[in-house]
C-alpha cells in the first residue's frame, strides 16, 4: 500500500544504495583475528604461569575484544547509524551496573555486623536439608540413571545411598 503524503519522493524509494558494503577480504581478516583470539583465550586459560587472579580479567578482556570485532564489522556498527551503537553501549553500561552493584553487595555482606556469612554448622545443616530433599527425588534419579547408564551397571548409584552428595 502506498503512502498518501507528499513526501514520497521517488528518489528515496530506490533502496539501499547508500549502504556500506563490507568487502569480503575485510570479513575474512576479522574472522582470522577472531580465530586467533579464541586460540589465545584457550592458551591463557590453561596456562599455569599466569597468576590465578588474572585469569578472569584476561579471559574477559579477550572476550570483549572479540565482541567489539563482531559488533563493528560483522554487525556493521562501524558504518551504521550511530544510534545503534548508543543502544549497545547503553545496554553494556546497564549490565555492568547490574553486575557491579550486586557483586559489590555480595562481597561486602556482614560489614557492620548485622549479618554473618554462613557458618560451618549451617553448611552441615544445609547439607542435611539437602539430603532430605534429595531423598524425595532419589527414585527419579535412580530411574534416570538406570535408563542412561544401563551398561555401566557396576558404577550405577543405588537409590539407597542418597547421602553421597551430603558429605562435603
Amino acid at each position: 500500500m502506498a503512502h498518501p503524503a507528499s513526501h514520497s519522493d521517488a528518489a528515496h524509494d530506490d533502496g539501499h544504495h547508500g549502504h556500506y558494503v563490507a568487502p569480503v577480504s575485510l570479513l575474512l581478516k576479522v574472522f582470522a583475528a577472531l580465530v586467533f583470539f579464541t586460540v589465545l583465550t584457550v592458551a591463557t586459560g590453561r596456562a599455569d604461569w599466569i597468576p590465578s587472579a588474572l585469569h578472569v580479567p584476561i579471559a574477559l578482556t579477550i572476550a570483549l575484544i572479540k565482541v567489539v570485532l563482531v559488533a563493528m564489522f560483522f554487525m556493521g556498527l562501524k558504518h551504521d547509524n550511530r544510534v545503534n551503537t548508543v543502544i549497545l553501549s547503553l545496554t553494556t553500561i546497564f549490565v555492568i551496573v547490574f553486575l557491579g552493584f550486586t557483586l559489590f553487595d555480595v562481597t561486602q555482606r556482614g560489614d557492620l555486623g548485622n549479618v554473618d556469612q554462613m557458618t560451618a554448622a549451617d553448611r552441615a545443616y544445609m547439607m542435611h536439608e539437602d539430603s532430605v530433599r534429595y531423598a524425595q527425588t532419589a527414585a527419579v534419579t535412580a530411574a534416570l540413571a538406570d535408563s542412561t547408564a544401563a551398561a555401566d551397571s557396576a558404577a550405577a548409584p543405588s537409590a539407597a545411598s542418597p547421602d553421597s552428595t551430603a558429605a562435603p
Partner: protein, 612 residues
C-alpha cells in the same frame, strides 16, 4: 499551520481512490465494524482501545480483590487477644484466602495493570497522533504485543485453578519455592506478559526516532512523547531481567537448581537483587507516563507553555536512567551489606530531585495562564496534590534509619498507593477524560465527572492517609489480622475504600454515559495545540491524518497557535445541540466540519520569541 483536507485515497477499505467524508463521520471506529477487523487490526488506535477494555477488566477484578481485602480488615479477628482467642474464619475470609487475594491484587495490579496501563492505552492511541505519524513503526508487532499480554492474562487465570497463589507479588525466595504450584504458572504468565511490555517499548522508541512528522524536532515533541520515550527505555532495559528472574524461579521450582534456595546453597538475597533490578525501574514504568499526561493537561488547561520544558523533558529521561541505580533501597533490612544500603540511599535522594523539579514546574505553568477547570484539569491538580504526598513520604522511607522502622509496614503500602494509584491511576483517569472526545467523538458529562472526582479524591485520601498513620505506628503489611489497637484506623480506611469504589464506578459510568448519550464532540473541544487536536478529526481517520501535518512550533506555544483561536468563532455546524447543558463554555466550532481549513493561515516560524 497548514491543514490540507484532501480526502485520503488510501483508506483501508478502499484501495481505489474513492473519497470519504473528512468530518470524522468516516473514522477508525466505523470503517469496518466486523469482529475480525478488530481482532486482526494493526491500527494503533484500535489496539489502544482493545487494551483499554482488557485493562479495565483487569482493574475491575484486581480492584474487587482490594475491596475484599479492606472488608476483611474492617474488624480484628481476635475475639480475645489477651487470651489468644482468634476467629479462624475471619470477618469474611480465612487467612489462606486473604493471602491469596492480596497476592492476586498485587500481582495483577502491578504486572497486568500498572505496567502496561498508560503506554498500552494512551500511548498506543496518542503517541502516533502526537508524532503526526500514520501508525507506530511496527504495527504487527504492536498487535502481537497485545496477544502476548492476553496470553499472560490467560495464564494468570489458569493459575487460579492450580492453587491459591500466596507469595505476595514479590515472589520472595525461598517461600515461593515451597508453596503450591500456582507460582509456576504466574511466573510464566509474567514472563510472557513481559514480552508485551518489551515489544511496546521497542516499538515506541523506534517510532519516536523514525516516524516524526516534518518539522517535529526533538524540542517540539509534546512532553507526553518524551515521557513515553523514557518509559520505553526502561521497559526495554529492565523487563528482560524480570524475564530471566522468573525463568530461574521457574527452574528452581521444576529442577531445584539451587540458585536462590538457601537450602540448596542458593542466595535468597540474590533473588531480591534480580527482582528489584527490574521492579524498581518498573515503578518508573508506571509513574513516568503519568508525568507525561499531567504535563499535557497542565499545558492545555493553563493555555500556557509548559514551564521549564527542557527540564521536564530531560528529567524524564534522567529519572528513567537513574532509576536503575537505586533498587537496593527496597532491601535495607534484607541482609544486604550496610555499605550497599548507604550507597543506594544516597542515589535514591538524587533521583528524588528531578521528580521535585517536575512538581514545581507544573505548578508554575499555571502562573499567568488561563486556567480552565474542566475535569481533566481537576484530575491533574488532584494528581499534584496526591503525588506530592507520595513523593514526600518517599523521602521519608528513603532515610536509612527511618526505613528500618517503616519497611514492610502500612506506611510503605500507603506511600506506594499514593504514587501508583494517586499518581498513575489518577493521571490515567485524567488522560482518559482528556482524550475521550478524540477517542470516541463524544463528550462526557462535565457535571457528573466533577461530582465523581470528588468521591475519588475523598475516598482515596480516607483510605490511604490512615494507612500512613497505621504504618508509622507499626502495622505490618500482608496481615490477615491485626492486634486490636489498630482497629479504628483500619475501619476508617475500609470506609474510605468504599467511597473510592463508588467514585471509580462513577467515573466508569460517566464514560459509558458519554459513549451512549454524549453529544458529538468537536474536533478540538479543549482548544489544545497538539497535533491530534489541531489536525485530526474526532474520532480520527483510519490513517490518523488526511494529510501529513507539518509542524512549525512547540506543542504548547499557544501564542503562536492561530489554528486554535481562528477556528474558534467559526460557525458551529450544530454539533453541540445535544449537550447535557452543564458545560456551556466548551468551544463549539472546530475545523473539522466543512472545509473550515480555509480559515487557517500559515504563520511564519518565530524563533527566539521574547515576550514583553
Amino acid at each position: 499551520m497548514a491543514q490540507t483536507l484532501t480526502a485520503d485515497p488510501h483508506a483501508p477499505t478502499a484501495h481505489g481512490h474513492a473519497a470519504h467524508p473528512t468530518d470524522g463521520s468516516y473514522n477508525y471506529l466505523n470503517y469496518d465494524k466486523t469482529f475480525m477487523s478488530w481482532a486482526k487490526t494493526v491500527d494503533h488506535k484500535r489496539i489502544g482501545l482493545m487494551y483499554m477494555v482488557t485493562l479495565a477488566l483487569v482493574f475491575l477484578v484486581a480492584g474487587l480483590f482490594a475491596i475484599a481485602l479492606r472488608t476483611e480488615l474492617i474488624a480484628t479477628n481476635w475475639t480475645n487477644y489477651a487470651a489468644g482467642e482468634q476467629d479462624a474464619a475471619g470477618t469474611i475470609m480465612n487467612a489462606n484466602t486473604y493471602n491469596w487475594v492480596f497476592t492476586m491484587h498485587g500481582a495483577m495490579m502491578t504486572f497486568l495493570f500498572l505496567v502496561p496501563s498508560v503506554p498500552a492505552i494512551l500511548g498506543n492511541f496518542v503517541l502516533p497522533l502526537h508524532l503526526g505519524a500514520k501508525d507506530v513503526a511496527f504495527p504487527r508487532l504492536n498487535l502481537a504485543s497485545y496477544y502476548f499480554y492476553i496470553a499472560g492474562a490467560v495464564l494468570v487465570i489458569a493459575s487460579l485453578f492450580v492453587g491459591q497463589l500466596d507469595t505476595g507479588w514479590t515472589f520472595y525466595m525461598p517461600y515461593s519455592a515451597r508453596t503450591n504450584g500456582s507460582v509456576t504458572f504466574l511466573t510464566m504468565a509474567i514472563f510472557i506478559a513481559g514480552f508485551s511490555s518489551i515489544f511496546t517499548g521497542l516499538n515506541f522508541i523506534v517510532t519516536i526516532h523514525k516516524m516524526r512528522a516534518p518539522g517535529l524536532t526533538w524540542n517540539r515533541l509534546p512532553l507526553f512523547v518524551w515521557a513515553m520515550y523514557a518509559v520505553s527505555l526502561v521497559q526495554v532495559l529492565a523487563t528482560p531481567v524480570l524475564g530471566i528472574t522468573m525463568l530461574l524461579l521457574f527452574t528452581e521450582r521444576i529442577f531445584g537448581v539451587g540458585i536462590f534456595d538457601p537450602a540448596l546453597g542458593g542466595d535468597p538475597i540474590l533473588f531480591q537483587h534480580m527482582f528489584w533490578f527490574y521492579s524498581h525501574p518498573a515503578v518508573y514504568i508506571m509513574i513516568l507516563p503519568a508525568f507525561g499526561i499531567i504535563s499535557e493537561l497542565m499545558g492545555t488547561f493553563s493555555r500556557q507553555r509548559l514551564y521549564g520544558y527542557r527540564a521536564v523533558a530531560l528529567s524524564s529521561v534522567a529519572i528513567a536512567l537513574l532509576g536503575f541505580l537505586v533498587w537496593g533501597h527496597h532491601m535495607f533490612v534484607s541482609g544486604q551489606s550496610a555499605i550497599s544500603s548507604i550507597i543506594f540511599s544516597l542515589i535514591t535522594y538524587l533521583i528524588g530531585i528531578p521528580s521535585g523539579i517536575k512538581v514545581f514546574n507544573w505548578v508554575t505553568t499555571m502562573y499567568k495562564g488561563s486556567i480552565w477547570l474542566q475535569t481533566p484539569m481537576i484530575y491533574a491538580l488532584m494528581f499534584i496534590f496526591l503525588f506530592t504526598i507520595g513523593g514526600l513520604t518517599g523521602v521519608m522511607v528513603g532515610v536509612l534509619a527511618v526505613d528500618v522502622a517503616l519497611h514492610d509496614t502500612y506506611y510503605v503500602v500507603a506511600h506506594f498507593h499514593y504514587v501508583m494509584m494517586g499518581g498513575t491511576v489518577i493521571a490515567l483517569i485524567g488522560g482518559m477524560y482528556y482524550w475521550f472526545p478524540k477517542m470516541f467523538g463524544k463528550m462526557y458529562s462535565e457535571r457528573w465527572a466533577k461530582i465523581f472526582s470528588l468521591f475519588v479524591f475523598v475516598g482515596f485520601n480516607t483510605t490511604f492517609f490512615t494507612q500512613f498513620l497505621l504504618g508509622a505506628k507499626g502495622m505490618p503489611r500482608r496481615y490477615w489480622d491485626y492486634i486490636p489497637m489498630y482497629e479504628h484506623l483500619h475501619q476508617i480506611s475500609t470506609i474510605g475504600s468504599y467511597i473510592l469504589a463508588v467514585g471509580l464506578f462513577g467515573v466508569l459510568g460517566t464514560w459509558i454515559w458519554g459513549l451512549m448519550k454524549g453529544r458529538k464532540a468537536p474536533q478540538n473541544p479543549w482548544g489544545a495545540a497538539t497535533l491530534e487536536w489541531t489536525h485530526a478529526t474526532s474520532p480520527p481517520d483510519p490513517h490518523n491524518f488526511t494529510a501529513t501535518p507539518v509542524v512549525t512550533r512547540g506543542p504548547y506555544d499557544y501564542y503562536l497557535a492561530d489554528e486554535v483561536f481562528l477556528t474558534r468563532n467559526a460557525p458551529s455546524s450544530g454539533d453541540g445541540a445535544a449537550g447535557d447543558g452543564s458545560d456551556g463554555d466548551v468551544p463549539q466550532g472546530d475545523g473539522s466540519g466543512d472545509g473550515a481549513a480555509a480559515t487557517v493561515v500559515a504563520r511564519p516560524i518565530v524563533r527566539d520569541f521574547k515576550p514583553h
